[in-house]
């Protein structure tokens, strides 16, 4: 079985982030594998292992020919990667990203299953996996906390607020994986060395047959007008207990209509 995993390479969350003039995140430094995506990579490796054969292929869109994050996932055991890197993609919105990734997935032969994280740790739109499914006209299952594949069917436990739904879909399908559902392996030293020579198919928007003016800031159909810091939390009201404090607390709760 062949699994494609969409992985995002993001600025290291441990370093303080900065914004560009157009309010998008600065992505000029070294980018790392989004931790959210390490779960999809691990799940893919486990599924391929269980199936007894096949490859895990990574698909990523990133600026400046960035491969650091991809190398981490390759070191974990993925076989190869497709990287789309093109200055035309600066400022791309979620839908453009989905179109580009969908086209990149098209370069991978015989993909049975496409995994992605439910959302990235830097952008948090949480829409790209479903949009990819839409562009590719494939079934989409979201919030997977457990995935099994047998006889051309993927069975998914779909996380809900109360428990999970049991879903099934024919393959190929796009499944988004929630964080923490599997324990991502640490890349071994051998894995890191092997990753150096694993193939990364690096392409531009033109290589994918996409019109550059339709994606990136030009085609985003959206603009970030303003970014303001989240309001600081206000100090709470302190009630001194003069024997009547409980009444004030009751009033307060009553005001919240929780009583």
């Amino acid at each position: 079985m062949n699994v494609v995993v969409c992985v995002k390479q993001i600025p290291d969350p441990a370093d303080p982030g900065a914004l560009e003039e157009d309010h998008t995140l600065k992505r000029t430094g070294k980018l790392i594998l989004d931790e959210s995506d390490s779960f999809g990579v691990e799940m893919a490796l486990q599924l391929v292992d269980k199936a007894g054969g096949g490859d895990v292929t990574l698909v990523s869109m990133a600026p400046n020919d960035e491969t650091s994050g991809l190398r981490t996932a390759l070191a974990m055991g993925a076989a190869k990667a497709v990287l789309v890197s093109d200055p035309a993609l600066a400022g791309a919105g979620a839908l453009d990203t989905a179109k580009v990734l969908a086209a990149a997935i098209g370069r991978v032969e015989g993909a049975d299953l496409i995994l992605a994280a439910t959302e990235s740790s830097d952008g948090y739109t949480g829409t790209v996996p479903e949009q990819i499914a839409g562009v590719l006209d494939l079934p989409s299952i979201t919030f997977a906390k457990h995935v099994e594949v047998a006889d051309g069917t993927v069975s998914v436990q779909r996380q809900t607020e109360l428990g999970y739904d049991q879903c099934e879909s024919p393959l190929p399908a796009v499944v988004s994986v929630t964080a923490g559902v599997v324990e991502p392996r640490y890349p071994s030293f051998k894995g890191i060395m092997a990753a150096k020579s694993k193939p990364v198919d690096q392409v531009t928007v033109a290589d994918l047959g996409i019109d550059a003016s339709a994606v990136g800031a030009a085609g985003a159909g959206q603009q970030i007008v303003e970014v303001t810091p989240a309001p600081e939390r206000q100090a709470g009201e302190i009630i001194e207990d003069d024997g009547e404090a409980h009444l004030k607390i009751i009033d307060f709760l009553d005001g919240l209509k929780v009583l």
């Binding site: 190398r71 640490y186 890349p187 071994s188 030293f189 051998k190 890191i192």
Partner: protein, 387 residues
């Protein structure tokens, strides 16, 4: 000239740092308190490839250079010296002698499990009456020609990794000249598989530090191992372990470096957040300058350790540099842990503060794999002095 590590070295350092933070640091205090040898963590480190790093893939190793091993030891020592010494001794004293001096058959038999972290090896040099003066070994191995076996009698002291649940062997040094024959003293090394009848693993020592590391005395009484368990040439045991110790000293220095770096990091953080007399204690020069000194110490130790590792990787002589790195970094670690404990004040004396454990753990660094005095001897002799 440049001081940069390779991309792969940096990547792997990051992996080991993540592993140490997630899998070791949260347990270090409890392991220390309960004197737990964390066998499962050792196995997980094996899966990560740590125990086989510098050995060829054909024996299950990772094929890395020696510098990469030093980086791994350094990163683990930032959170737990006991686990770091388990790795250092497992690779440097357990597997390295077999790899360096073993026959093909010995390597095939022992290395795959040692490299995978499924097994641990020890090296028994020190005896109750012979430590720095390791040439004074009294343990004897006598070849029984008829049975084709070495018969070993004697005693070893303070042997790391010699009594764990997964210990597979201890390589020992022993006199192999025939007693009373008047022949020149001869020291050889012999592999003793764990559990061989006649070798008794003594109860663990009660130690000042390294509580989660495994240390035992061993006694040998009529212990028999097959003649082909001789490691390396007969009579070359003394020269061989001196070479093994050169590698080990750089690795111990890397361990000490990790400790100094941890002291620096934790002291600076604490000096910024702890307030006294209305300001952070780091606002007083007495505390800030201690941190500055720690930073210089970390930088100097790093340069000495990486330089020695670089020389070894380049196949150049490094005995003097190994001794210098070991001497400076281990004495630095004792100073750094003392100063960090001071910066933490009363909290620094409490077990829940990592620097208090680091302080107890560090003293042995000036003693094991050659005391500071022995390092100064090695360096003096390299200077041509008649000491």
């Amino acid at each position: 000239m440049h001081f940069d590590l390779t991309d792969e070295q940096e990547s792997f350092r990051k992996v080991v740092a993540d592993f140490a933070r997630a899998e070791i640091a949260p347990h270090a205090e409890a392991w220390d308190r309960d004197h737990t040898f964390p066998v499962d963590t050792v196995r997980a480190m094996g899966e990560l490839g740590l125990f086989g790093l510098p050995f060829p893939e054909e024996y299950g190793g990772g094929g890395s250079d020696f510098t990469t091993l030093c980086l791994a030891i350094e990163e683990i020592a930032r959170v737990d010296q006991s686990v770091a010494i388990t790795l250092e001794a497992g690779v440097g004293l357990g597997a390295n002698p077999i790899f360096t001096y073993g026959t093909e058959e010995q390597k095939q038999r022992w290395l795959p499990d040692l490299c995978a972290g499924r097994a641990l090896g020890g090296f028994g040099l020190t005896e109750p009456e012979a430590g720095s003066d390791a040439g004074g070994t009294r343990t004897r191995a006598v070849l029984d020609d008829v049975a084709g076996e070495w018969v070993i009698d004697g005693e070893k002291a303070f042997i790391t990794n010699s009594g764990t649940a997964i210990t597979s062997l201890v390589t020992i040094t022993a006199r192999t000249d025939v007693a009373g024959s008047g022949a020149a003293p001869e020291i050889s090394t012999v592999i003793v598989p764990a559990g061989t009848p006649g070798v008794e693993v003594q109860p663990p020592y009660r130690k000042m530090g390294w509580h989660a590391s495994d240390t035992h005395g061993l006694t040998f009484a009529g212990c028999r191992v097959p003649a082909d368990h001789l490691l390396g040439q007969r009579g070359r045991g003394f020269a061989n372990f001196l070479a093994i110790l050169d590698d080990g000293r750089v690795a111990i220095a890397a361990l000490a470096l990790g400790t100094i770096e941890a002291c620096l990091e934790q002291s600076v953080a604490y000096a910024k957040e702890r307030h006294a007399f209305g300001r952070p204690i780091g606002g007083y020069q007495a505390v800030a300058f201690k941190c500055a000194d720690l930073a210089v110490m970390a930088e100097t130790a790093r340069n000495l350790v990486y330089k020695a590792a670089f020389l070894k990787d380049a196949g150049r002589p490094f005995r003097k540099e190994a001794a210098m790195a070991k001497l400076y970094a281990t004495e630095g670690a004792v100073t750094a842990t003392r100063e960090a404990t001071q910066i933490f004040g009363g909290y620094g004396f409490m077990d829940e503060t990592p620097v208090s454990r680091f302080y107890r753990d560090s003293k042995i660094l000036e003693i094991g794999e050659g005391t500071s005095e022995v390092q100064r001897l090695v360096i003096s002799r390299q200077l041509g002095l008649p000491v």
